[in-house]
Amino acid sequence: MDALISSANVVVDYTPQELMVAAAAREIADGELVFVGMRLPLLAFLLAKRTHAPSALGLFENGVIRDTAAPHGFMTMGDPVNLTYALKCTEMKEIMAYLQRGRVNLGFVGGAEIDRFGNLNTSMIRRPGEDGFVRLPGSGGGADIACLAQRLLIIMAHEKRRFKEKVSYITSPGYGDGGDWRTGAGLIRGGPKAVITTMGILRFDLETREAFLSSIHPGVTVEEVKANTGWDLKVSTEVSVTRAPAEAELAVIREYDPQGHWTGWRKP
């Protein structure tokens, strides 16, 4: 159906963000309950619904449950249009109770920093040898989703300063220092399923829980990914090339991001 774009000299007619959205959408199965954020995760959810997962439901932490796309685009989940024809509007506590009860199949989180075990920092960056620190906005619902969703999908820009040997603060726990750390820490389920970056997709070894490079995006080399990762990134023996978004997928993404606010396919 789609022409795979696998080397750098092919004209790239989609943006890295569009590829990330398409890859993220494929992680959603039909009928699933998805904790949806804004931006790329929202687009991924909407794309999945229009393709292989028509009966997936989206939860927003302000208290909205949707089974359809909003009738118009929006920039924050608290825009009135996100409530128009929603399936349910309620309070946050109810949404979070579904999450804690184990009913949420998949959640999305991003972060300013990530480490080799998928731990995320969205709170505070301290750099060794430097005096000050950078204060980030904080967890929001991220830590809850990382602790309690059945599966976690992380979406991040792949930059060496963000992919670190150790994060300076664990806001949203991944696999801690590996193995069965989550159980020992007191977590009852979950953990990152994949990290979808601007360069490739990382997955986690089922025993050690260390991230490894599972696929590279078309036009990216394994060496480039490793060079942009702050630790010695393991690479799958069967590393594949991420399937590029199909025309039909791109059409849906662009329908939901007509200005290119989030995917940059057009200058907003």
Partner: protein, 306 residues
Amino acid sequence: MSASKIMPLDLAIRQLTSDGMSLALGTALEGMIPFAAGHEIIRQGKKDLTLIGPISDILFDQLIGAGSVARVIAAWVGNVTSGAGYNFRRAVEQGQPRSIEVLDHSNYSLALALAAGAAGTEFGVTRSLFGSDISLNQDIFREMICPFTGERHLAVRARRPALTILHVQRCDSRGNAHFWGSSGVSLDAAAAADRVLLTTEEIVPTELIRSDPNRTFIPEFLVSAVALVPWGAHPSSVYGFYGHDDDYYIEYAQATKDRAAAQAWYREWVFGLPDRPAYLQHLDAARLDRLRLTHPALTIPVDFGY
């Protein structure tokens, strides 16, 4: 029946707020944020406030940048449209205009803290936040073993704000408020608080409130004062009334990137304007018109008869 609780916003803020108090704001998350009330707090020069909220939007950033805040108890402080809250960052990183203490929560743990406060218990329980450094703050979180199953849980300290300010679509003069849309942690924030101030788009007869008792969100016995403040939540949205002013958020981010520019922003948008009508005039009518809703979606009535 009961006496009217309606009063001008400036008087309500004068009567209900005091230096050093704890204050819950922005409890419906991205929408329904009581910006007008927050600006009046800044104008009245309140100090040493403790702010409580889940993802606390730029109203927290504005109060912090004005030097009104000593402590923030929140899950997220920033700008929902553009990301960082620069006043917040300056206060935490550089102590500008003053240093503040931040007690980090997640959204759920803050919801549980307020729910416990609302229910009159000293703590709530969760299975979230294990393994997160957030849970290391022993003043807020303590591990607890279920006495029935032995499973590990986390106790979350209850929060009872001295005052919760909510913006609602409509209420009567006694403080019975209809609210529709997604409410975040607003009901628990109100029920946990010692006192509640409602700012509202409309004041309506109690008969209208009684016409749909499931739509009633805040009952009068929680409420100390009611202030009629149309557009009182701009630049955030009010469901059924107006949209989220994304441009304003982006402009605010630009205007507050450095401290000097931020001070100009306060002069223009807070100190230079005595009240919300002046703010709306400054904002200009065409901009407000662009935020008005244009696609109605009315609910279908149900019968509460007998």
